[in-house]
Symmetry: C2
Subunit: 358 residues, 2 copies
Amino acid sequence: MTFPYPRLLSFTIDIFRKIGCPDQDAHTAATALLSADLRGIDSHGVARLIGYVRLQEAGRANPRPDIRIIHQTPSTAVVDGDSGLGLVVAPFAMQLAIEKAEKVGTGWVSVQNSNHFGIAGYHALQAVKKDMIGIAMTNASALVAPTFSIERMLGTNPICVAVPAGEEPPFVADLATTTAANGKLEILQRKSEEAPLGWIQDKDGHPSTNPHELKTGGALLPLGGDRDHGSHKGYALGAIVDIFSAILSGANYGPWVPPFPAYVPMPTGMPGKGIGHFFGAMRIDAFRPADEFKFHMDKWIRRFRSATPAPGFEQVLIPGDPEREMEAERLANGIPLVPSVVDDLKGLAAKLGVEFPA
Amino acid sequence: MTFPYPRLLSFTIDIFRKIGCPDQDAHTAATALLSADLRGIDSHGVARLIGYVRLQEAGRANPRPDIRIIHQTPSTAVVDGDSGLGLVVAPFAMQLAIEKAEKVGTGWVSVQNSNHFGIAGYHALQAVKKDMIGIAMTNASALVAPTFSIERMLGTNPICVAVPAGEEPPFVADLATTTAANGKLEILQRKSEEAPLGWIQDKDGHPSTNPHELKTGGALLPLGGDRDHGSHKGYALGAIVDIFSAILSGANYGPWVPPFPAYVPMPTGMPGKGIGHFFGAMRIDAFRPADEFKFHMDKWIRRFRSATPAPGFEQVLIPGDPEREMEAERLANGIPLVPSVVDDLKGLAAKLGVEFPA
């Protein structure tokens, strides 16, 4: 079933209002959440709305947070999200990074005491609108085993870097630091298909193709898959995200990051507050005139697009191409939702007394 | 054959002096270069000294550069390296990033018109000495085919992030954005061994295990290896390094980055100047008190070291562990050099009239 974006947005705003979010926050959260559906990252969009509602019901997400700057310098800040929805806390922190960049060239904000923020790409792209490079990352609950281990120690810890261009669309690299994001496993589970080797290992550390492996103690693998193929690099990248997001801010890290599903018990001995994010904004003209930068960024993009394709492929893609095309298509033709998600949304609508679709 | 570090350092300083570097620059360049040998990245150390000399002889490296800041804001700068050795230009730029971080919390410096800078780790670690997180990256001549292509468009474009800890040694992730760095192929070539699948492809884009493949039009593969295993992420990371190092600064990018071997012709239609680097320094106490940060960084490191190992492995490593252990060992027992490198150095010594070893 397919739903027009405006109706799904309006519905999502209604739900966030019903759980106690102020109007402006409900709009902010819904826009951030649905950007995932528009960009084709279905696992992180409205399918998770029920998860956010459950976090609020369990007292793990605060619908009326007092988001505060607890430390700052001209180019940095640490923000306390007061257990708010990451979908609201992250836009606040990204906006702060942008304001600092306007004044001193760059802005860098680490966030504690937050929750899941949707897709990193949405936040990084806010900087692109201001002729800045945008950077967004977040830690997440542990599903990934570091190289040489069978223990889940890191989340899929995504990094997004978004770069403005001139006539060409922006470059948007938005990547989990694992071989494959968890959402890809969910797709295989639904289709009863096997995963390629290099995505997951079983509880004993053996390579596995079973997409259900995480339910029995298995783990996702860092980008690279195994040591011979550079998994120590994926592990290092996930670790950098964890350190920037949580050790700089005072959030939880490693195996102590709180889980998204409200029914999963919280880790014991948590060393920080909530989950952590990290945002950066770099003003292009803090380095060189924006028109010069954009001229060369266009040239970069066009040269890469025209690189000789391998047999069987049409052309080299620029990071962000597939998501941008998906966004255009879904804005025009609506957002498809699988039946189980539609059922969840209908259930939410009935329970909270709103119309679905709006 | 094994050589004590001080004698190899003294010899390398002599060589840089002989090609026209001022005393201070010769010392800076030699220290940066030999940090690779100390840390076990033999491909990037004194084995390349003859390559740097050839760049100077070919007029591609300026031994007495006028390194200048051509644009700046409180937290950013662009540096023109005046075709100097990257081994001299990079320390200047990293120092500038550190000074900006001292004043406004963070400093970010993009560099044009430089040459190869040795290992990224050496430069990033300069910030760690000042209780800052250090970041260093550089582009390099094209050896890597983006996902879906057979054309070499990117260098191995390394990223280093170095983070201070308290009682524990620093976290130092220093990684090429390819499955395997080119130096690893050189080792296999010397041993006449095959490479694992996922490191390289042949000129037609087929997977290959032949470590000589690059000589006949093949390419290194981005971290991930192929699309199913996330090579689009490695490609995106290499692209980010290229953009930060060269599009922000005005250096050459993509297939136009000048090659290190002086006998390889320069690309035609070059859009910028020299090769590009990017450096960052973030003062820890621009985010939170350094002692708090270090307490949690120590806890992070200890928790990851104690993660349950997979069968057959002793323990999880922290990024930087192998290089630090190698450095201690080689400072104590000397730096081993293969015969072909010793021959090169003897040849240099004879030609330039210095003693080898010093």
